[in-house]
Amino acid sequence: MLLVLTEEHREHLSMLPQVEPSVVGEFGRIALEFLRRGTSPKIYEGAARKLGVSVEAVQQGVEGLMFLLMESSKHTISEVDFMDSVLILGFGEELNQVLLQLYQDNQVQIRRILSQLIPSQPAFHQLEWRLDVQLASRSLRQRLVPTVTMRLMLSENEEGQRSTRVLQTDPSTLLHLISTLEAALAAVKTSHSRRILRNIK
């Protein structure tokens, strides 16, 4: 599939041929840094001073590049489609190669960054367990109750924020949990699931 670049986007990218291809490579590095950590106007100012162009032009160039890389990574477009998509910008061959290199080198990383933006529920992180036997309590003496105590760690978001739940269960419920979850594991291996997984590409 080809990328459809808007008029405004093309205009922002039009400053790229005005600088050296090596500078475009540097812009690409900055664009990736900004995708990871957020933008910083100071860097735009520094670069604009060095290149002798306006801050706005640098900002538009870098952000245009960010958007180009994000969109191509989002759709995981092929090398040919990427080249065809940037062809419309009318850049030279060398500059197009620099852009392609930027895209190919960073596609995996950009997809990982984008995947962090998706709203998600707490995800399983780790489980620790121990076997306890309750021997007595305030209301009952001479007890012998086996209990499995578990610490379930969930990651609340992509920044690694964790929450911990302490849960308990008895041996027979534990066996029930195991058999229910084994059925869940088996479900992904059924011919129905495999057919769907194979056909949605």
Binding site: K74, H75, T76, R111, L114, S115, L117, I118, S120, Q121, P122, A123, F124, L127, W129, L131, V133, S137, R138, S139, L140, R141, Q142, R143, V145, P146, V148, T149, M150, L152, L154, R165, V166, L167, Q168, T169, D170, P171, T173, L174, L175, H176, L177, I178, T180, L181, E182, A184, L185, A187, V188, S193, I196, L197, I200, K201
Partner: protein, 200 residues
């Protein structure tokens, strides 16, 4: 079983034929057993037409003493002879001891059967971590989202139903097939340990 003075006094009143006649005694004993299992602190448990003629305060003292006695007996897993001995010491005649015992059986029979119902009731007192009761799951396939096309990853949504002190709560989380495999593996390890420990 060690009983405090006020409990002893209350039980003596319960056994005293001049305080409770032949008709009121079984009604009071029945109300005491029932109040522990079913009423959940309902203040109307002693408001019975058969007990209208009795002194309210005395009745409350008897109720408090009898329920304490029942809970103490459950706590120490007291057998029939221990219970009979304690009651006889507190001036219960043989007939009243027998009535006390048959009422206990009659009331607890109505749910789980003796003596488990009182045992369950006592074991539910106190605190502990949330107890997992059940688990449900859903297998999903993420195709795309607002940020990414072609994600194409199967994942599970797991919901653990838990209970703490009568209140239930669900613990929900998502996991990949590998993570679920890891989770099941750990639970199996735990189950194996339980099995080994039970053979010792």
């Amino acid at each position: 079983m060690e009983l405090s003075e006020s409990v002893q006094r209350g039980l003596q009143s319960l056994g005293d034929q001049t305080v409770l006649d032949r008709c009121s005694f079984p009604v009071v004993v029945d109300a005491c057993f029932r109040s522990l299992l079913f009423s959940r602190g309902d203040p109307a448990v002693l408001d019975l037409p058969e007990l209208k003629h009795l002194d309210k305060i005395l009745l409350k003292q008897i109720h408090a003493a009898a329920t304490t006695f029942i809970l103490e007996a459950v706590k120490h897993n007291a057998d029939k002879s221990t219970i009979s001995f304690s009651l006889e010491e507190l001036t219960f005649n043989t007939e009243r001891v027998e009535t006390f015992y048959t009422t206990r059986r009659k009331v607890s029979n109505s749910i789980f059967g003796p003596p488990f119902s009182f045992f369950f009731m006592s074991s539910s007192i106190g605190r502990g971590p949330a107890h997992i009761k059940d688990v449900s799951w859903r297998l999903q396939y993420q195709m795309k989202n607002g940020q990414l096309d072609k994600v194409n990853e199967p994942f599970y949504l797991i919901s653990l139903s838990t209970e703490t002190g009568g209140a239930s709560e669900d613990v929900d989380f998502s996991c990949t097939a590998e993570q679920l495999q890891d989770l099941v593996g750990k639970l199996k390890d735990a189950a194996k340990s339980v099995e080994k420990a039970s053979q010792v």
